[in-house]
Every structure is written in C-alpha cells, then in structure tokens.
C-alpha cells in the first residue's frame, strides 16, 4: 500500500470514528446511560470472582468495567467507538490476509456496518463487543512449537479453548479465522499434507469445549456455545431513545425537561404520557395538564407481573415511590433488579436504598448503601444518604416521603391502583399526588359518581376543596346532570368566568373551540 493510500484510508477511518462517536454522544446518549444503569460493577475481589462462574469472563468483566463509564455519554461514545474501531481493524487485518485488497475492503466495510448496526439495539452490551474483539484478536495469532530441523507444529487450535474461556461465543470467530488461515496456507504450500488435522482439531475444540464445560457452568449446550449472547443488528431506534431520554430526565428530577421532551416526542406513547403526567403531578399541576397530552396514561390502570415489559416495571416503581407506597415500589424495584443482567440494576439499588430509608428500615437501607459505596460513580451518593451522614436536604426529602407513605397495617388483595391510592389517602389526606391521581383517574374513566364521591370524601369533608379548573369543570357536569340546587353550586363552584363558559358550552356541545375543557373530553373523546 502506498503512503498516500494509507493516509487517505486512515483519514476516512478517523472521520468515520468521529462521526460515529458524535452520533452516539448526540443522538444516542440515553441508550448509553441505559446500559450503565442496567448493571452494576463493584470494585471488590469477590465481585470480580463471580465472573469466573461462567464462560467469557474476560469479555464480561472488561465490558462491565468499561460500561460504568457510560454515565458520561461522551466518554461512553468514545469507548464504544474505539471498541468497534478495534474490532473492525482486527477483522480488516484478518480478512486482508485471506482475500485480495478490493474484496477485503468490501467485506470489512460490510462488517463495520454490521458492528455499528448491533449497537443500535439497547440490549447489545459492551460485553458483546469485547468478546468479538477478543475472539478476532486470538484468531489472528499463530502459535507454533519448533520441532526438528525446520519443522514446526502449529498448535493454534488450542487458542479456541482460551478464546471460549475468556470470550465465550467469540471462540467461533477464533475458529473461523484459524480454519480460514489454514486453508489459505494450504493452497499456498501444497506440501503440508496434514492441514486437515489442524482444521479437524479446531472444529472439534470449538464444539467440544462448551460441551465439556457446560455442566460446570450450569448452562445448556446451546446457551453455553453462544454465551454471553449474540447481538442482533437493527436500525437506529430514535423512538426508544426518546423514551429513555424522558425516563432519564425524570430520574434526574428535571421535571420541566421531562415534560418538554414528552411534549415534543416524535411518537408520543404510553411511557412518554406517563412521565409527562408524573412530572406534572410532582409540580402540583396534574389536573392542569391532564388534557394537554394526546395519550392519556396515568399508570393507575396498569398492574405488573412476571411478563411485564421492563419500562412498565420502571414506571410502576416511579409512580408508587412518588405516591408513597413503599411496598409496591419495593416490589417493582426487586422485579426490575432480577430481570437485569446479573440481577443488578444500579438505579434500582439506589431506589431500594431510598425506599428503606423512607420506611425506616435502616439496616436494609445500609445494605444497599454499602453496595453503592463500592461503585465508581455512586459512592458519593451513598455517603450523602447514609444515616448519620445524610445531607440536610436528603433527610428532609426522606422525612417528607415518610409522612406521605402508607402506614396502615393490613393486607390487600391485588395491585388495584385505586385501592392503593385510597389507602394512601387514608394514611395521609395531605398526599396531594395520590389525591390528584385518584381524581384524575376517575375523570379519565368518566366515572362522575365516583369522582364526586372521592372529591367529597377527600376534599370537601376535610375542608380542603381543591379549586382546579379541571375539577371545577367536572363538578359542573355532575351538578348540571343531577339538577343540583343553587346552594350545591355555591358550595362547589367558585363563581368566575368558568361558569359562563360552561353555559356557553352547554349551548354548543362538542364545539372544538372548547377542546381544552373537560366538558369537551367528556362529550367527545
């Protein structure tokens, strides 16, 4: 290759890397953060030792170790880009040894695109790439034992065992390279009549190594040979990125951003709607915003079980935690944890610590805090939340939540959210978030009798009427529908322009000019 050609190719490769890293950092940051949140890495020997219980220990260990830096999307983008670039370079070197320049370039470009396509799925972890990189690297090596005179014994097939142990499924890639190199070499050196022996050894080792170790790894053979798992290529999923971004901004308590992202979402869905409403509720504006989103999902009609998708479990965890039901928040956090790789999800471990701090189970909270204390990114968070060392604002928040949480000693039949909200309000009638979710659920179901009953019980009877436009509009529907007396109207409705609007609407029901009102929703949607 001429120097000019080399420089041109290097510049193109570098430009591709810059574009790719920029893409990950700018267009896919929430995917990277999701990877970081969906695992945990502890800086302890016993944690590292757990990686040896399964094949691909080096791929999984280094993958998880690097993934923790994804907490910074720019660093994450750089790591992922470099690993993909390394894989591509290794493939390019290997393929160039086998094919002519043109064909090898085409195949390398195809593989590079494939590697990038793998990364578009949120389920593709860095472990996968490290395993591929390790497998290809070992495939490029050649080990020989010198024999008499000029003869050498090629023992490269033993690399397959090492590759399986350290990189799992990538032993198949290592094998493929060893076989391809052997075949290629044989075509050049027709004198080696034992070339087939090398191929036979390689194939046998690739198949037999997982079979031999699958029992000690407690894996079925098919799973053992493909451990830790093969990624699937996909196109960029910007809809999922949007969802993750909304969830992340909520996690960072940036409720304005949550609402903004939800409102500008290219494809609004149940999850964006859920977080839009929950962020609104935390800003005391759920009734004000209930009709402002096209999709209406408060999460109050959702239950969770073993087949529930992970984002829905996350939603339920957030809803119950913010509403004050620590039992169900804990249940969702536990479920989310066990459905994560290695049964650990750092966001849920933080949440479990918070839940137990709120419920006053200090010993259990300390357990989770000790785990977080052994991480790279959350040790400070752990210290700030440790009883005795807690920051005043953290303590204040914990006490506020404790005041709102469910303290009744009883058991419930199921996870019917209405019951949960009622129980929370029985425990603490000042739980405005629970009250708004209860009333807004009634209104979305257009169950005016139940709404009136709940409003009476938790607002009027407690001398704390909640004068929100949405509730006033709904009460007008109820009062008009039941032919209530003037006294009743005076009792519930604050005289203002809304009454006049109601009369106007009554004369032109279904008029889209009133689409922001509950009256229109009640009649038309």
């Amino acid at each position: 290759m001429s120097k000019t050609k080399f420089i041109i190719i290097s510049v193109i490769c570098l430009a591709c890397c810059v574009v790719l890293a920029t893409f990950y950092a700018m267009a896919y940051p929430s995917h990277l953060l999701w990877q970081e949140q969906n695992q945990i890495f502890l800086n302890t020997p016993s944690w590292i030792a757990t990686y040896f219980a399964k094949p691909a220990w080096l791929g999984c260990l280094s993958g998880d170790w690097l993934t923790r830096f994804y907490i910074n999307p720019i660093v994450g983008a750089l790591i992922l880009t470099l690993v993909i670039a390394y894989c591509t370079a290794c493939f390019a070197i290997g393929i160039r040894r086998l094919l002519p320049a043109g064909a090898s370039l085409l195949l390398t470009v195809f593989l590079a695109i494939l590697l990038v396509a793998f990364s578009m799925s949120a389920s593709t972890t860095l472990e996968f790439y490290i395993c591929v990189a390790g497998g290809v690297s070992l495939g490029l090596l050649k080990i020989k034992i010198p024999l008499r005179k000029d003869n050498c014994l090629d023992i490269s097939p033993v690399l397959v065992i090492a590759s399986y142990w350290a990189f799992g499924f990538a032993a198949l890639i290592t094998s493929a390279f060893i076989i391809a190199f052997t075949l290629k070499r044989d075509f050049h050196n027709r004198g080696n009549k034992y070339w087939w022996l090398s191929i036979l050894c390689t194939v046998s080792l690739a198949m037999a190594t997982p079979a031999f170790f699958c029992k000690s790894y407690a894996l079925p053979y098919t799973k053992a040979i493909l451990y830790p798992g093969i990624a699937r290529p996909s196109l960029p999923n910007f809809e999922y990125e949007e969802r993750l971004a909304i969830s992340d901004s909520f996690y960072r308590k940036d409720y304005e951003k949550t609402k903004r992202l939800a409102l500008k979402a290219g494809s609004p869905n149940e999850i964006s709607a859920f977080y839009y409403y929950l962020a609104s509720a935390l800003q005391d504006s759920l009734p004000d915003n209930l009709l402002k989103y096209d999709i209406r999902n408060l999460g109050t009609l959702t239950t969770i079980g073993e087949d529930t998708p992970l984002p829905v479990i996350d939603m339920m965890n957030d809803l119950y935690y913010e509403a004050g039901d620590m039992t169900y928040a804990e249940r969702a956090a536990m479920m989310r944890n066990v459905f994560s790789p290695r049964n650990r999800n750092v966001r849920m471990i933080k949440r479990l610590a918070e839940i137990n701090l709120v419920s006053g189970d200090t010993l259990a909270a300390l357990k989770y805090l000790r785990i977080l204390d052994r991480t790279h990114a959350y040790a400070d968070w752990s210290k700030r939340h440790t009883p005795g060392n807690m920051l005043p604002e953290v303590e204040k928040d914990i006490l506020r939540r404790r005041d709102l949480s469910n303290g009744k000693d009883n058991i419930r039949l199921g996870d019917n959210c209405r019951n949960i909200l009622l129980e929370l309000l029985e425990s603490n009638p000042r739980n405005i978030l629970a009250l708004d979710y209860l009333l807004c659920t009634d209104l979305l179901l257009k169950d005016m009798d139940t709404f009136k009953m709940d409003y009476d019980k938790y607002c009027m009877e407690r001398g704390a009427p909640r004068y929100k436009k949405l509730y006033q509009e709904a009460l007008m529907i109820y009062l008009a529908g039941t032919g209530a007396s003037d006294d009743e109207w005076d009792k519930y409705i604050v005289p203002d322009q809304l009454v006049e609007s109601f009369h106007n609407y009554s004369n032109q029901r279904g008029n889209p000019a009133f689409r922001d009102s509950y009256w229109y929703y009640f009649d038309k949607q």
């Binding site: 020997p45 073993e306 804990e330 944890n337 137990n356 010993l363 259990a364």
Partner: protein, 486 residues
C-alpha cells in the same frame, strides 16, 4: 542489570512481608467483628471462621487452642489458612480457641483488643455440607434462582441446578431423605413444571397434581425407609401488606396432606388430612410411624388474615397397610396460645421437635416475629429458643442427620435477606449461640449478596445431578402422572 533484579526481588519480598503489631497490653474493649463470632460454638473441621473488623487497615489475629496449637492471620481481615484451621479445631475438640486481635487503623496506630473465644464442640458435624436455594427475598420472580450446595469444611459452593439450565423455570425447595445426596425431590415451576424425584436408583419427573388432590406437591418430607414421602398439596396465594414493615403474606387457598409411594407412583390420602381446613408442612417422625403437621381452620382470607393460626398436630401412618391413622392428635392448640405454628422438624434422634411460632400465618420467613421453638418429645414440653432467636425472622430450620446440630435462616442482619446460621443442642438441652455461615471475606460477601438462602438443609455427600438429563425431561415434558391409591 543484576542490581535491578535484586531491587525487584527485594520489592516483591517487601510487599509480601506482614507487619506484626508492637508488643502492647490488651485494652478492655472487645473487637467489633463481623460476623459476631464471639463466644459461639463451632464444630471441628468447619470452614475457617474468617471475620472483618470495621474500619481496620490491617488485622492481626493470633488464635491459641485451649489444648494445643496456635495459628496467625495477617491482612485486611482475619483470613485463616484452611489446613491450619482444620488442624487447630481438630486438636481442640471440647476446648476453647482464644482469639487475640490487634488492629492497625487507617492512621497507622495499632490497638490490641481484649481476647474473645470460640468453643469447639465435642458434638461432631460430619455432613459434607448444606444445600439451599438462592432467591431474591419475598417476591415471585423467575429470574436467576438456583439450588446450590456448599461444602461445610471449605468455602466451595457449586450449583446443583441453576435456572440457566432449565430456562424460564422457577426452582423450588429441595427435600432430601436425611441429607442423602441420592434421595431427594425438587420442584420446578413454570411451563412443563413438575417434581424431580431422585429415588436413589433413578431420576423421574412427576406430575403430582391429580384430579383427586387439591394442588401440586409442595412441602415434602421423606419417610426414613426412603420409599414414602409426605407432601402437602397447596394452592398458594400471595398478598402484599399496605405498610412496608410486613411486606408480603403468602397463604393457602387449599392445602391437604398426602403420602407419595415412590415404588408404585401412587398417592395415599385420608379424609382426615384432606379436609376444607388447611393441613400443611408434614414431617415424618424419626421412626416413620407418625406424621407431624400444621392444621388451621379456614378463615375468610385475606380479610381475616390475623385469625389464620395453625395448630401443631400429628397423625399415625402405617407403612404396612399404607394408611393413615384414625385420629388427629393436637400437640399444641393455636387457640390456646393465640399463635400460629409452622414447619415442624423432628431431630433424627427423636429427642426434639423444632418448629416456628408467629403471630399468624404459615410463612414465618415473612414475619419478623417468627421465632424458633423446641419441644422435648419425651415430655411434650415446649420452650422458645431464646438463645438463638432474634428480633427478625428466624425460620427454615433443619437438623443435621448426625444429630445435635441444626441450621436455620435468619434475617437478623438487615431485616430483608435471610442468611444461614448454625447452632447445636447440648446434653443440657440448651442451644449454643448461633454462628453465621463462614465466608472467605464475610463482610464483602454478605454486603454484596442480593439473595436469601432459602429452604436450607444438610447433605451428607455432594449432589451430582445430571443437569442435561433434567433439562431434557423438562424440555420434552417427559412427565409421569401420579395416581391416587383407591
């Protein structure tokens, strides 16, 4: 070049050298060790009782045997050499081991603490190890669960069966015949679920649900002859508490007692133990002539959950006629004590019956008030095992086949995760202070673990389960239906 080599060798040797504490008198303070192994009684040959000391930069421990021998440990925590430890405990059976602990803090200051002792019991614990299920506490989830075995004399833990081997299945409790590694049952839940039966000679996959019985075989206990297994057949429901303190309450919609005959593949029933009331957690007496079990009147659940209280009962069982006795004896009446009893477990020598007592319900691991109680079977007198109980749930006890020693699950460390503790009953009938299952680095292990040790039991030998065979049976649904003896 040689100079560099010498420097390198010197650096290696220097890094390997252990600093001994200076000579100083012990203070009056006791070391704050985890786990709390002070004054515990241990069996000879147990795995090294390693411990951590909070905030310690370096720990030096000198262990001196009451009869003979001594050993030392240097490091970040007390980490004893396995061979030396075994030798020391074997040489000091019936005597004390004295632990002289010195700690260097982060500032480089040494402090020598008042010595503490561990007693080496003269009651041997000769079992190979223990078996347990590891699962996230309190929640029905099908993710990574597994049945594991742990050697008692070392830290070696191996999988008996992991969820990864039978994907998507929930692995339930393992019940062996007096700790035998070749006679046990193991439930697998989920699609194609059933009960693995290892009867000593072959492995069978059983469908224990029959048209005549209320549910699948759940809680089991082997007859000493190895042919019969007493099961309760349960339909279990879980409800959540409103407050976080209690968390979850599993209860039986229906539960009856049956005996399974592994030779004829039939179930033996009796109308006395298959009633609208709830009969559960059976256990054969050591002579096999009696079945202990728990019995509760049906109450309106979940509303009256506080009224669900189980009595401790027994019924005769005759292997010759393969029939239950004609009457139920109530050993402890729930109404009279206002409490609920669960998990009766007779010691294999027939001296004692250990059981759980809680305010209500049938699942003691979910009740912080769950305590272990013991009944002297010769007198019928019961007492609370205050020596071993804690403020948190203490449950899932089982006896060593060799006698004396028992293990149980306790949530005393954090109120959330059940860990394993061991104790033994001496000739005076008193239990020794329980000790936590030793680990290489206990603080790190127990801090990082997010599982409970569920349904633990002793095993006399290592279990070697043919996992591919089990996977094939489950995958291909090679299930054998159980019938009811007419």
């Amino acid at each position: 070049m040689k100079t560099y080599l010498y420097i390198f060798i010197f650096a290696i040797l220097a890094s390997c050298s252990k600093e001994r504490p200076p000579h100083m008198a012990p203070s009056a303070d006791s070391p704050d060790i985890f786990p709390d192994y002070t004054d515990v009684t241990i069996p000879a040959g147990i795995a090294p009782m390693n411990f951590n000391i909070s905030g310690a930069g370096q720990v030096y421990v000198k262990v001196t045997g009451g009869i003979e021998g001594e050993m030392e440990s240097f490091g970040e925590w007390a980490d004893f050499n396995e061979k030396e430890w075994h030798l020391l405990t074997e040489r000091n059976i019936g005597a004390d081991l004295t632990f002289d602990v010195s700690v260097k803090d982060k500032n480089g200051h040494w402090k020598r603490y008042a010595p503490f002792v561990m007693h080496v019991s003269d009651i041997p614990l000769k079992d190979y190890g223990i078996v347990y299920r590891k699962i996230a506490p309190g929640y029905q989830t099908f993710s990574k669960t597994g049945i594991y075995q742990r050697e008692l004399s070392s830290f070696e833990e191996t999988a008996v069966l992991e969820e990864t081997a039978v994907e998507g299945k929930c692995l339930n409790c393992h019940y062996s015949n007096r700790g035998r590694n070749d006679q046990f049952t193991l439930h697998i839940r989920g699609k194609n679920g059933g009960t693995i039966l290892n009867s000593g000679s072959n492995l069978t996959y059983l469908n224990t649900k029959t048209p005549e019985t209320a549910g699948n075989a759940t809680y089991g206990y082997w007859h000493p002859d190895g042919r019969y297994i007493a099961f309760s057949v349960n339909k279990i429901v879980q409800n959540f508490y409103l407050d976080k303190e209690h968390n979850i309450e599993p209860w039986d919609v229906v539960s009856d007692i049956v005996v399974y005959d592994s030779e004829t593949n039939r179930i033996i029933t009796s109308p006395l133990v298959a009633t609208p009331r709830c009969e559960t957690t059976p256990a054969f007496s050591p002579d096999g002539k009696k079945i202990f079990f728990c019995l509760a009147d049906s109450v309106s659940m979940p509303g009256d959950y506080r009224q669900l209280k189980y009595s401790l009962c027994s019924i005769d069982f005759d292997v010759k006629t393969e029939s239950f006795g004609t009457r139920i004896d109530t050993l402890i009446c729930a109404d009279s004590i206002g409490k609920s009893i669960s998990l009766p477990r007779p010691s294999y020598d027939g001296r004692f019956l250990m059981y759980n007592m809680t305010d209500h319900g049938t699942s003691p691991i979910h009740h912080a008030d769950a305590d272990l109680w013991i009944m002297d079977l010769s007198t019928g007198e019961s007492r609370c095992l205050t020596e071993v109980n804690s403020d948190f749930s203490d449950a899932y006890h089982n006896w060593s086949p060799g006698g004396g020693w028992f293990l149980f699950n306790s949530k005393r460390r954090d109120g959330m995760y059940g860990n394993l503790y061991f104790s033994c009953i001496g000739t005076d009938g008193k239990a020794t202070k329980p000790f936590m299952l030793p680990q290489r680095n206990p603080e790190q292990y127990y801090d990082e673990a997010l599982h409970s040790f569920n349904a633990p039991d002793f095993i006399t030998d290592k279990i070697n389960l043919d996992m591919p065979h089990i996977r094939s049976m489950v995958k291909n649904n090679e299930i054998v239906n159980v019938s009811v003896k007419k």
